[in-house]
Each structure stands twice: as C-alpha cells, then as structure tokens.
Amino acid sequence: MKTFGIIVLPGSNCDSDCFYAVRDYLNQDAQYVWHEERNLDKYDVLMIPGGFSYGDYLRPGALARFSPAVDALVKEAEKGKLVVGICNGFQVLTELGLLPGALMRNKNLKFICKYVDVQVENAHTPFTSRLKMGQTIKLPVAHKDGNYYVDEDTLQQLKKNGQVVLRYSEDVNGSVDRIAAVTNRQGNVVGMMPHPERACDPLLGSSDGMYILGSMLDHLLKGGF
C-alpha cells in the first residue's frame, strides 16, 4: 500500500476528488495533509489538488506558496519524491518555480469546463508509463487560467528534455504549443491542467485518468522513489 498525501490548502476544492480517486479506484492509502503540516516524510507521493487556493487572488497559485506544507513539499521534491500538481496545483508549482513557465488567463478569458482530448508526448515518465507515445486520451479540464506560457528558449529545452508530457489535440486555452502538462528537468514533478482524478469511472464519462494514476503506482511499486 502506497500513501498519497493530498495537500489541503485553504480554497482547495478537488482535494476530495483526488482522495476518492486514490482510495476507491487506485486502491491505495489516500490522506489529506493540512497546509500547516511541516513534515511530509511519510508520504510516497504528494499531490496538490485543483481548486482556488487563497481564492486565486492576485494570481492563481501565488499565495499558496506561503503555506508551510508547500515549503515542505519543495524539500521533498528536491529529494526526488513524486509530486503532482493538478490544475490549481500546476499553477502553484509554476509559482514556486518547481516547474518552468506560467499559467495565464485562458485565451477566451473564460472558465472552460469540458472533456478534451490530449496526446501523450512522453510515455517514459513516472506519470505516463502506462500510455504509449502519441496515444490520445480523454480527460476533463476545468480552469480559467490554463494558458501555459514559456519563452521560446525554454520551450526548446523542454522539448529537447522530454519535459512536455501531454498536449491538447486541439487548441483549448491558448497554451504555447498546446502544452497541457510538463515535468521538471529531473522528471519527478509534474503539473497538468487536465484532471485525471476526475476521470476514473466510466460512469462519469471517462476512466482514462487511471492511466496516469496507475503509472505513478507502477513507478512506486518498481521501487522508484
């Protein structure tokens, strides 16, 4: 049994989505981690869920940086632990500088909630190993600020290093190069705008999110950090 720590920031609202996905569909130990927690040793994976941490005030993800648990998460990430930021979590990770780039207001300036197709750009990451290169999966998005920006130089590096993990099949929000998910250079930290945790039960329209959660589990079971 692996332990997934789900960071609960004031304003997180997909914390329970992550919790049930991990507990009921991945059948692993899901635990909420209050944002004032300082020791995150015992978790095998850390997740920053979607939502509106601190109301998304100022900039989405900007104020979450100052929670002690997020501080501790940075240290765990540096040690090489798997860290996943979904939606607002992705925004937090870029604000922290753990991931390159920034997430800006969607091109149409509106919140977008719908299923989208995404393609796998790198199947050799701890988050995508159950998928094939180029495979298309169906995941929901639900965000107002998912328009991923990086400058041209960084983009070339990301591509060269295989840090672009998922791309939207069609332009959804104006993201540079239709990027939907990126990892850090080391490959243990991922941020993604689509919600795999919302796509674990065919009853709700798709279970493709299980590929991503399952890949992480495989990685841990193979003895990955």
């Binding site: 304003g11 329970s16 989505d17 919140f111 977008i112 919302r198 009853l203 709700l204």
Partner: protein
C-alpha cells in the same frame, strides 16, 4: 418621528402609515431610529412575504419524505439510508439588474449558505435566468456578467453547477431574473436548525467582517427599479467566494462537535433577520452587543451594523462552555468568530452598543409580526384578446426545413454550452449526467441511489394562462426527471412577478400558485421550500409571471440512469402518449 421635510421617516424607509401604527401598538411606544430601521428591513416584502404568505399556504408541503417543509433556511427530504436532501431556490433579481456580476455571485453565495445552515454539504447548484432579447439594450452585458458572476463564485467554492435554464424575452429587458438553486446532503441525525435555545448560550458571529454593504438592500429589493436605480448603488454587495468556501468547511467541521445549537446565514437584513428569526423560532430572546462585531468600516452606527448585508457571515448559537472549541475550529480555517451575545428567556431582542441599549424589541413582532395583505386579483382586460387565438386559421410554414433552421437559431432553443462550459459541473466527481440533458444526475458516493435535478418554467404559457402555465411548469419538471429515470420527490419554487399591488399581477400570482398546488397534488410532490420575488417591473411594465419550479428526483439505482442521446444503430424509436 419626522425628518426635515414633511414625509415621515417610516415612509422614506418603505413602511406604510398603517404598518407604522401596528409597530407602535405592538411595542406600546414609538420605536427609536435604530428600531425603525430594523422594522423597515424585516417588514419589507423581501423578508416578510407580506403579499404572498397567505397564498403560499395553499401549496402542499406534506409528504412521507418531508422532514422539513417551508419555514426553515431550506427544505429537507428523506432520501433513505439515513440521508437527507436539503434544497432551496432563491432570487437575486434586483441586485443583478444593478450590478450583474456581483448580484449573481452573491445570489449564489446566499443560497449556498442556506443549505449548509441546515447542516448539509452543498453538492449541486443550478441557475434559472431570464433576460431581454440578445443584442438589445444592456442584455448582452447583463447576460455575460451574470454568467461570469455565477461561474466565478460557484467554481471557486467547488460546488458543481449542473444545470439551469435561460430564456431571452423582451419583458425581462430591464428586469432580468437570476434565480439560483442549491441542494445539499446531510446525515439525518446531523441536521441543523435555525431555532435558538438554551438560556445563556453564547451567540457567535462567524466569517467576514461587517461593513456598510447593501444597507437597505432588502427594502431596496422590494421596490420597483425606478429610473434612479443606479443612484442607489452604494448598497451593492461584493461577494468573496474564497471566504464562503472556508465558511462551508469550518461550519461543517463545527457541526461535527455536536455543540452547535442553532445556525443561520445572514442574508437580507443581516444580523437583524438572523437574530430575530432564530429567537422567534425558538421562542426565546437574545441579547446582542454590537461592540463585539468585527467591523470593516469606521464609525458605523448601530442601525448600520444591524442591517448590513455584508456577505459570507453566519450566526451560530453554541452550547454554553463550548464556545472556545468552536472558535478554535473557525480560527483553524482563518475565520473571525466573535461572541456577540447570548440567548435569554424573555423573547426580546435587546441590542447594546457603546454601553447603551440601542434597541429593545420583541423578536416575534420583528420576525413574524408584519401584516399580511390579501388582495383582490383581477385578470387584465386584454388577456381575453390574447387568449382568443384561432390556431386553425394559422398557415403552416411553406418551407419547413428553413423554419426548422430558424427555430434552431433562436437563442432560446440553441445549445447552452456557451453558458454551462463556464461552470465547473464536474467538481466533486459525482456528476453522472452533465448539463445538456433533460435533468442533471448526481450520484452519492458509496450508495446505490442517485439524485436528479431540473428547473423549469415557460413564462409565455404563464402569461397566457397563469394557472395552466404554472401547472405545465410542474409537469414539465416531473417529466424531465422521469426521463432520466428519477421519481420526483420535492419541489422548491421561485415565484417571480411584478408589482402585487396591481390587481392583474396579483391575479397572476394567485392563479400560478393554484396551478402549482393542483399539479403537485395530482403528482403527489410536496413543495418544501421556495422564494418570492415581487416588484419585477419597470416603466416597461411587469415581467411575465415566472414561477420557476426546481424539482429533485430520486433514482433508486445509479446504474439505471437514462440519457437522451441516441445509442445504437437499429434501435427502435417509439412515441409515448398522445
């Protein structure tokens, strides 16, 4: 009490001479200014239902599943397995006409608080909207801003907006309607009420600080929007969905302790309404000290604190001696919680400020003493002409294909994806049938049963024949639910009308309510909560009568949900009914 010009103060505050007399005779003395301000908001149409209460009594509100009918913050229905469904709909029409973004946002905030005030976790939002024709006047602006307001607020608090309705029609040109429905789920033994009890129990004000927002908003909402509506702007309230999200979590955690005796949200008329209604329901009194209220603005007068409509606040009555535990929970969530009073046994609301008693009123008189008006409804003269349409004299359209395309182009028929894609309708991972179907379906994790929701009303029908139109709204709602496989179990209704002092409008309201009553009786669906919004009219005249029906249904087995998409080649198509 008169102010400088000769209009008596009570009239400028929206009370009639007769109402003022009733206050004086009920009190046995003249009210002071603070007290009069409190009466003016509590006896407004918005809070007191002066014109609608006698009519609302007609609605059937009993049934095997009904655990709480009208009279509390929201209605409650037994859905089996020890669970209950809490639901209510509410209008925020007038605020949205003035400031559509904030008006709609705070409308969502208000209805959500009603639901968690009953102890339930809010799990579903819906919105029923009416605007003028697209492209005319401020319609596009109002429409975009209202949708943005609902989207930003609902998405932030993490409650999925799973459905609703939108119509564009000229009669709403200057009187848009914004009705929001919220439903929640609670374990039956954890239900909360707004009934204060326990002499000496501390009264806590929790959540946002109190400022001058929306002062007089409640009485404002009960007046027709005149040409000078924009002048009344300072009363605009600003919503803080982040605060609301914290408030939801903190309150639900506080209820878990079992130490919360009673709780109510502060909507219209703020501290005044929540305190007096909680005291009146519990047949107790309350002593309040305004010096303890965390304020946001400087130099606020007693009446301003008492009737402020600052959003995202709750009033809690807590077991004596347990206040620190509750405060700790609130502080964990970063919220203010201040002890501002205690429960007394004498039925009076006694308010102190700066060491003086500034108001002293019987809670019952304030909360429930407003007069009720039974008027005479008279159908409008020219209704007959409109109704006398000889359908057989109409020519069928020459080019049916063209007509079909014309119809599909109508914003009233076209896809509403532009709207519902702006709403997070999937958060909480329970939305089984998403917007775009007859009714939305939401599962309950770990249970077999699921819930279905719809809102319906065709106001043109109601205009042509209020009785038949309202009946049709109920029946349509029931039909929509049965289409997804649900049995309709309860209704919450939002009655939007023009000025009830106009006999033709009063008649519409009367007939609509009769229509709802009769349909509910036949279908055996109780009305467990609702809301009335009157004075929806401008110089352009009253809106069409718009009794929006929000209906909840129960699906015994979530795997048996039916959606409307065609499924497979060769499936047989049947037509049922006549």
């Amino acid at each position: 009490m008169e102010n400088s010009n000769t209009t008596p103060l009570w009239r400028t505050l929206g009370l009639t001479d007769l109402e003022y007399e009733q206050i004086v005779s009920g009190l046995g003395r003249e009210p002071n200014f603070t007290e009069l301000a409190m009466f003016s908001v509590m006896w407004s149409e918005h809070c007191a239902y002066k014109n609608s209460k006698p009519l609302l009594k007609m609605l059937p509100s009993k049934g095997q599943r009904v655990m709480q009918g009208p009279g509390e913050n929201a209605g409650v229905l037994d859905i089996g397995d020890g669970l209950a469904l809490v639901m209510k709909i509410e209008s925020h029409n007038h605020p949205s006409a003035v400031e559509p973004y904030q008006g709609a946002a705070t409308g969502v905030g208000g209805i959500v608080r009603d639901i968690f005030a009953m102890g339930a976790r809010p799990v579903v939002l819906m919105d029923s909207l009416r605007f003028g024709s697209l492209g005319e006047g401020r319609t596009n602006y109002l429409f975009e801003q209202v949708v943005a307001g609902i989207s930003d607020y609902g998405n932030c608090i993490g409650v999925p907006t799973v459905g609703g309705e939108i119509y564009f029609q000229d009669c709403y040109q200057k009187s848009p309607l914004v009705n929001a429905l919220c439903a929640g789920i609670v374990e039956q033994d954890k239900m909360q009420t707004g009934k204060a009890s326990g002499v000496g129990s501390p009264v806590l004000i929790v959540g946002a600080t109190t400022g001058r927002d929306g002062i007089g908003g409640a009485s404002f909402a009960s007046q027709e929007l005149g040409e000078d509506a924009e002048e009344k702007l300072p009363s605009v309230q600003v919503g803080d969905p982040f605060m609301e999200k914290l408030l939801i979590e903190a309150c639900l955690e506080a209820y878990e302790t079992g130490f919360v005796v009673a709780v109510q949200d502060m909507g219209a008329a703020g501290i005044t309404s929540s305190a007096s209604e909680m005291a009146a329901r519990g047949e107790v009194g309350m002593e309040l000290n305004l010096d303890c209220v965390p304020l946001r603005a400087e130099g606020m007068a007693a009446h301003e604190i008492l009737i402020s409509e600052s959003q995202e606040r709750m009033l809690l009555v807590v077991e004596k001696g347990k206040e620190d535990q509750i405060k700790q929970i609130m502080e964990k969530w970063g919220l203010h919680a201040a002890i501002m009073g205690r429960v007394t046994d004498d039925g009076w609301l006694r308010v102190c400020y700066h060491g003086e008693v500034v108001a002293q009123l019987p809670a019952q008189l304030l909360a429930e003493g407003a007069p009720q008006y039974i008027r005479e409804g008279i159908p409008s003269e020219h209704l007959k002409d409109i109704q006398d349409l000889d359908v057989t004299a109409l020519q069928p359209p020459a080019d049916l294909e063209c007509t079909l395309l014309e119809l599909l182009k109508s914003p009233n028929i076209a896809s509403k994806a532009w709207v519902f894609e702006q709403y997070d309708h999937m958060v909480r991972t329970d939305t089984v049938v998403r917007p775009g179907s007859d009714a939305a379906v939401v599962r309950i994790k770990g249970k077999h049963q699921a819930l279905a929701f719809t809102t319906d009303c065709n106001a043109t029908y109601c205009f042509l024949d209020p009785y038949e139109g309202a009946k049709a709204a109920v029946v349509e709602a029931a039909r929509n639910l049965s289409m997804v496989g649900a049995e309709p179990i309860g209704i919450t209704d939002c009655l939007n009308f023009g000025n009830p002092e106009d006999p033709a409008v009063y008649w519409q309201m009367q007939r609509c309510i009769e229509g709802i009553r009769d349909a509910c009786q036949v279908l055996n669906i109780p009305v467990v909560s609702g809301n009335v919004s009157l004075y929806n009219e401008t110089e352009l005249g009253p809106i069409f009568p718009t009794p929006v029906i929000g209906c909840a249904g129960l699906i015994p087995d979530v795997s048996r949900v039916c959606t409307m998409g065609l499924k497979d080649d060769g499936d047989v198509v049947l037509v049922l009914g006549e």
